[in-house]
């Protein structure tokens, strides 16, 4: 399995194929369709990361030392970005997730989608993913 930085590099290269913004968005729309459907039982308020503009649901499972994320959003483009985050961060151990430097966001020009003022829940989602990692890390140390 490729490491976090290798996958980010791979994603950056995929996006470099598109000069036009519309093509980048079209690609995100395509990616959103590949995102595994989250169990409707998990689309509850406890898993909701609320933003003013779009909503994100995030769920984490911890199994055999690895974190598995599932997520969804009511916005397709947000969902596409989630698909990228899951591709990078899901199936990793807690320390990898905690220490991940998500440089691909800048590289593919999605910074504006992650500014706090956009309030689309993505920034909070990344924080929440790292918090899960921190919690599982503490748990694994404790046991």
């Amino acid at each position: 399995m490729k490491n976090i930085n290798e996958i980010q590099q791979e994603i950056s290269e995929e996006f470099e194929l598109y000069d036009d913004w519309m093509d980048k968005y079209n690609y995100l729309i395509e990616l959103s369709k590949d995102l595994p459907v989250i169990d409707t039982k998990l689309k509850v308020n406890d898993n909701l990361i609320s933003g003013c503009q779009s909503r994100v649901w995030l769920h984490a499972d911890y199994e055999a030392g690895l974190i598995h994320f599932t997520a969804d959003s009511d916005s397709i483009i947000t969902k596409g970005i989630i698909a990228l985050l899951i591709r990078i961060l899901s199936g990793r151990n807690p320390e990898e997730v905690m220490n991940a430097d998500l440089f691909f966001i800048d590289r593919i020009g999605l910074r504006q989608n992650l500014s706090p003022t956009r309030s689309n829940g993505l920034l909070s989602m990344i924080k929440q993913m790292k918090l899960y990692a921190l919690a599982y890390h503490a748990k694994s140390k404790g046991s």
Binding site: Q53, D74, I77
Partner: protein
């Protein structure tokens, strides 16, 4: 003289730009309007060669600044046809005006069990200050509902008004639905019951002429930055009798008469309500914006904007995948809509990349979204410099969104 939008556009430097390699189409005027060059130059000149604080100084520049500030007050007075310039109070904006008024009015007139009436379509700035007052004083907030077409259920007002009603506060024009509310009728019914009325003019004063004396409203509030003036300045107009009865909402410099540690007596209105160094450059910039509008001609602007609204509504309703929110017969400047099965945030991102500035989300009016059971809308809000071609660009962008997400 015929209104020439293309020559008007030349007065607004901000509009002459490209974003993402496309000409900027600015349709977010309900959030803030761009400034004409005369306003930009006025503010720049003031900072460059006239700056001095007002009221306190004896020196040349202070006196000159004081005079310009008081002239700005007169310009506002004339623009809204207030009887006296002392009825015009400078605040930080519509939100500042309503919060100050809610505190002040509440201190003087609100007791437990009293009632305040607002409408279901209000901006949060005309909801939350009254809710805070109600919580502070144990008063009750009552709501005039609206119909699905965006018109107020005005016939409900008679049953909402009781002997305990102390104040009615409603928006003149809805920032999400564009509805022009029947404020004359509301004011008449309120006054028949001796109830004062606050009109939130944040979305109206830039589109329609305002005559507070003819309206007979007790209070009228608006912001500078939505009427092509600077940010951080706004107006609280109040009939003179209220300004004598209401306590000041802030204490500090200039608003006092005599200060001792035993007792402070207050200055006369309007300065009684303008504690601290006011935003005098904002006030002077706002006056410059009002002069620009007067010079350009309010009726020509209104006619132009109404024609654009009609054109935009027509074009959008021709698209079978569009839902328009707000179809009141009396409407102004706002096109609020959604595409079938497309999230407004997704649509907004694509529209942005087409060089068009719109707003998406709840527009600080969550109860309106709750009314329709939606999470938000796309809002194009028109200004004096928008063109039919820009509406066409918006329509192509909307079609593009539809193609991408269908």
């Amino acid at each position: 003289m015929e209104y020439d939008v293309y020559s008007v556009r030349k007065d607004f430097p901000m509009l002459n730009q490209q974003i993402y390699g496309r000409p900027l189409v600015y349709l977010d005027n309900g959030a803030t309007a761009q400034k004409p060059l005369s306003v930009i130059e006025c503010i720049n000149n003031f900072h460059t060669s006239k700056n001095s604080t007002i009221h306190r100084g004896i020196h040349f520049f202070s006196e000159q600044a004081t005079e310009e500030f008081e002239n700005a007050r007169k310009t506002v007075q004339q623009f809204i046809h207030a009887e006296k310039s002392s009825e015009v109070i400078f605040t930080s904006g519509t939100t500042g005006s309503i919060n100050g008024l809610a505190w002040s009015f509440g201190e003087r007139f609100i007791s437990p069990g009293d009632e305040i009436i607002i409408s279901e379509m209000e901006h949060h700035s005309n909801i939350v200050p009254w809710q805070m007052l109600c919580e502070r004083k144990g008063a009750v907030l009552k709501i005039i509902p609206f119909n699905d077409d965006g018109t107020l259920e005005i016939n409900k007002l008679d049953t909402l008004i009781t002997v305990k009603t102390r104040l009615i506060s409603v928006m003149h024009i809805s920032n999400t639905l564009g509805t022009i509310n029947p404020i004359r009728a509301i004011i008449a019914r309120a006054h028949a019951n001796d109830i004062p009325v606050v009109i939130d003019g944040a979305q109206s004063v830039q589109h329609t002429g305002i005559d507070v004396q003819k309206l007979d409203c007790d209070f009228f509030v608006f912001s500078g930055h939505k009427i092509y003036g600077p940010t951080g300045i706004g107006i609280l107009y109040a009939k003179e009798k209220w300004l004598h009865e209401l306590p000041p909402f802030q204490g500090g410099g200039e608003m006092v008469n005599v200060v001792s540690f035993q007792k402070t007596t207050y200055n006369e209105p309007p300065v009684k309500f303008e504690a601290g160094t006011p935003n005098y450059i904002g006030a002077i910039g706002l006056a410059e914006a009002l002069k620009y509008l007067t010079k350009t001609g309010l009726s020509g602007i209104a006619k132009h904007e109404n024609a654009l609204l009609e054109y935009g509504s027509q074009k959008l309703s021709e698209l079978d995948f569009i839902t328009l929110y707000g179809q009141a017969p009396d409407k102004s400047s706002i096109l609020s809509f959604n595409l079938k099965d497309v999230h407004h945030y997704d649509a907004g991102m694509i529209i942005d990349k087409m060089g068009i500035a719109v707003r998406t989300g709840t527009h600080c009016a969550q109860p309106v979204m709750q009314h329709y059971g939606i999470s938000g809308t796309i809002r194009a809000s028109l200004g004096m410099y928008n063109t039919q071609e820009e509406i066409d660009t918006l329509i192509s962008a909307v079609k593009k969104v539809r193609d991408m997400f269908a």
